[in-house]
Point group: D3
Chain length 141, copies 6
């Protein structure tokens, strides 16, 4: 086995505010669905992204972690840290949940897959240690 297949994962953290709210519904209905999460609150979000592929025998790496770190910095941290997520334009038309955030981040990272050097296989968003959502991409559908 010259080229074993592995998955590498990088994790970053950012601090942001959000509220769970569907603007096409009434305030009463939003409160009923989302409860206290309908109010503006916030989290120290943790995002993990994983790439899967064969190890390059010259480098010992699936992909260059420096590239993954740089792209996550640009596409996640610089976009979302110290922001009110409901006002971030590329998130704005969805209910900003851990689930939709995971899908939206997947799409931004996947758009740069060539630079990542290996296929994106997982995006996981933690709102806290207790609550998270993970997305393994559209091929899961």
């Amino acid at each position: 086995m010259d080229h074993p297949i592995l998955t590498i994962t990088h994790r970053i953290e950012f601090s942001a505010a959000h509220r769970m709210d569907n603007p096409s519904l009434s305030p009463e209905r939003n409160l009923e669905i989302f409860g206290p999460c309908n109010r503006i609150h916030g989290h120290n979000y943790v995002v993990e992204a994983s790439l899967t592929g064969p190890v390059n025998p010259e480098t010992g790496m699936v992909a260059n972690l420096v590239d993954l770190m740089g792209i996550m910095q640009e596409e996640i941290f610089e976009q979302l840290d110290h922001q009110f997520l409901n006002e971030v334009s590329w998130l704005g038309k969805i209910v900003v949940s851990a689930e939709t955030l995971a899908v939206a981040i997947w799409e931004r990272l996947a758009a740069r897959e060539k630079e990542l050097g290996a296929p994106l296989t997982l995006v996981r968003v933690f709102e806290s240690e207790a609550n998270s959502a993970e997305y393994r991409g559209p091929s899961q559908n």
Copy 2:
């Protein structure tokens, strides 16, 4: 892709005592198999439960986390926190290990799957950061 498939996870913690012991075996045999774990000891147990399904576009959620949290509170925390697990009736006839606890918790949560709002796909029980057992349900057999 209008309804991406995701997995959401909630984590709770409870404190309980247990001992690894099979009442149908002799004390000597129990001690041989389980070593120090045959004595009464305890843990801050962590339990994670995951649900997998399509995101509801109206709510941005796979299932309402408030429901998952409430059901885990009722079926796990209120049942097991500050208990000696070997004396909990619905656990009592098995060797109380992380493995059997994961299966028993799966069965209690799965019995309420309709209320959970999405299929249960994982129960993971940590006795500590160092030791855990995970169960993905009877369909894995």
Copy 3:
């Protein structure tokens, strides 16, 4: 030594939004002082409160932890979880930093010191694992 002096600590977590902003200053000056923290963002805040006193030989406790937990639940969690802290009335006229939050929480807990059962000696507020502020009370001045 029949009554050794100890310190007990309880920790809770809540999720909230805030922005660092002094309404009596111009937006430009606020931005200059607070940088990105001037924008609405949020955290999973952790608050630790400590009580110090002699151990009661009848109970083995400095104070009843159940009381401390209940009071922290009422005075901190129920007040601040899933809130935009700048809009909480008893916080509203100060710059909402980890420091001022620690002092405001101290004052709320200290007002119930009789119920706590032992003197309050520390309040520590973590905005994240990386950043915290601790207050040991007015007697430090």
Copy 4:
């Protein structure tokens, strides 16, 4: 300053069961005081011990960490791991709380202070991340 004064800390973890109970009180009174903690339950306990003294310029150390680790292994881990603390003879006549455990561990470690190589200045016992007790010794009285 040739010999700066520092504090070094080592942390260990053990798993044990206990119940909060004062045998000289009635079961009703014990339940009233201790609530669910009166039942047999358990924790992954964490114990930290600190030594304070000048740095030895030959070794760069306040005391040899290998000695501290060995003594904590003998006096704490080997005594308490996978035990029901209420049945440990040197703990048995007290209510087994985080507070009394901290004092009892202090006494065992302090009895070996000569081997530790520097004065013991803190023992901290965590029943969980949320609850702890710390003892700075009889000189605090």
Copy 5:
């Protein structure tokens, strides 16, 4: 379902130094590929290993955790703790990355699969909380 299939995981930690370097490349090329990781540095490595199989109804266990712990102690901790990994003979001819370390550890553990008592299904190596590599074995190829 008499024999549900579960996965158990044990985690250990060791401290070691390494540098990312391919001796068959020039120093300039190594620096270009690996950047600061080309310098000697180190980590508190965390390694998780998982076994998957049916629960033994007599023991309540997939495999005896004591065996897994002992084998990980021998094959990982005793081999790698407080070592400069580039000088460990069984690692020496590869670029010592999280990926190649995961594969090398897999091979050592898999060689003892009979003693482990259940099939090895995952080795995960964390260089830090932020960076990890996981390997699910040659059958993934």
Copy 6:
């Protein structure tokens, strides 16, 4: 009390190699004192630095955290991350332990106390979650 006194703390992490070794002693004596720590190994070091002073009522802060973060980045991270500490010139003549590292970092930060905006009162260096050294400055002597 218009200006309560608080302590703020910032924490950073870096990865580095070191060995415990006193070059003025023989290899045999070094091995005897330091055991396995005499070999080249490494850690994900965590450093916490604390400042103590009155809260500025205009900013709600003891000192501007952005300044503390920047100075710790320059004086610690940029100096020590991905380095072999025994070869860092400003550390080189001491035994590189957690203790001496804490003192050396204190001196670098204290030299910039004017920029920090409040007195430095604590530097704590963790080699791991289990082992740390803390220094409260030369005034403790």
